[in-house]
Amino acid sequence: MHELSIAMSIVEVAQEEAQLRGVRVNAVHLKLGALSGVTKVALLSCYEIACDDTPLQGSRLIIEDVPVEIFCAQCGERRLLDSVQLFCCAECGQPASQIVHGKELEVVAMEVQ
């Protein structure tokens, strides 16, 4: 369970960005890949704890789930995976190990005022 340290890093990143801009943060938008190794539900509850006694107290964490997308060398196309248990092209069935998306753990935007 490392979601608390991840949540604390999110708060840290958001605080830095807010300070640079001289704003107050209402919400943090996060991209969370299916292969990031982080669980959404646990992260949401840890976020509240991580915000306590910081300028971000009371802010919301808005998570956008990012599914795994692979590049199929056979088709020359990007494809979404049907299952993280089966890394192969959903169209042609070829095994595919080149991951294009799905490892994201990224603050992409903030609602501020």
Binding site: V23, H29, V84, A96, E106, E111, Q113
Partner: protein, 227 residues
């Protein structure tokens, strides 16, 4: 009156602090010519026995050292010291994984130029270590035959963060009726093309092929660094 709420774009990797330290470590390792291998697995899959065997056998041909992470105790460092290689313990307290800064701090004054291989044994955990880059050249994930063939399907993320899979405790395979073809299939299913070594640290069976592979990777790494 407070200003109107608005949306600003940010784009920051949450683990950027760790990634920066890991990147600096990688540069340092490359400059010193040391090849760094990390190990991840669930608790009890035989990481320490595997590492002890690795250190003992590699020592005759290479200069080796190890860092070993655990929540508590220095037992693993004591065990690994039997290999006569320099070993340092990282006690993480309650933290369930190693981070790049812990590796940097544990290295301290070690002269990396005096090493060919540095091994980093992560805390026994198949979830949390997957998110953290430690600056290693190669990440091994261990799966003991006693854990069952479907571990890769249950933990696809860690298998995807690793470069090589080791199926360990092969001497116990018959006793637990381990299904080799199903295990191999499951690994390829979550990580197509993954290199797999099947071995027993206890009997030494299969260990030579894996050690030769490490030696090749060290040579390749130094050849590309020299270009």
């Amino acid at each position: 009156m407070s200003p109107e709420p608005r949306l600003v774009e940010v784009r920051q990797n949450v683990l950027k602090q760790n990634d920066l330290v890991a990147r600096a470590l990688r540069v340092q390792f490359r400059a010193a010519g040391v090849f760094v291998v990390s190990l991840v697995s669930s608790p009890g899959s035989g990481k320490t026995a595997f590492l002890e065997k690795t250190l003992t056998l590699l020592r005759s041909r290479f200069r080796v050292a190890a860092l070993v992470g655990d929540l508590a105790t220095e037992n693993d460092a004591v065990r690994l010291a039997r290999s006569q290689a320099p070993v340092r313990q990282i006690v993480t307290g309650t933290l369930c994984h190693l981070e790049a800064a812990m590796v940097r701090d544990a290295l301290g004054d070690w002269d990396l130029e005096q090493l060919d291989f540095l091994f980093i044994e992560n805390v026994g955990n198949l979830v949390c270590p997957s998110s953290y880059d430690l600056g290693e050249d190669l990440r091994l994930v261990l799966l003991a035959v006693t854990e069952g063939e479907d571990k890769p399907l249950k933990y696809p993320t860690i298998f995807n963060s690793a470069d090589v899979a080791i199926i360990s405790k092969s001497d116990l395979a018959d006793a637990v009726e381990f299904d080799w073809s199903s295990a191999r299939y499951n690994i390829q299913s979550v990580r197509p093309g993954m290199r797999v070594f099947e071995l027993s640290a206890k009997t030494g069976d299969g260990v030579d092929r894996y050690l030769d592979f490490l030696a090749e990777r060290l040579a390749e790494s130094r050849a590309t660094a020299a270009v």
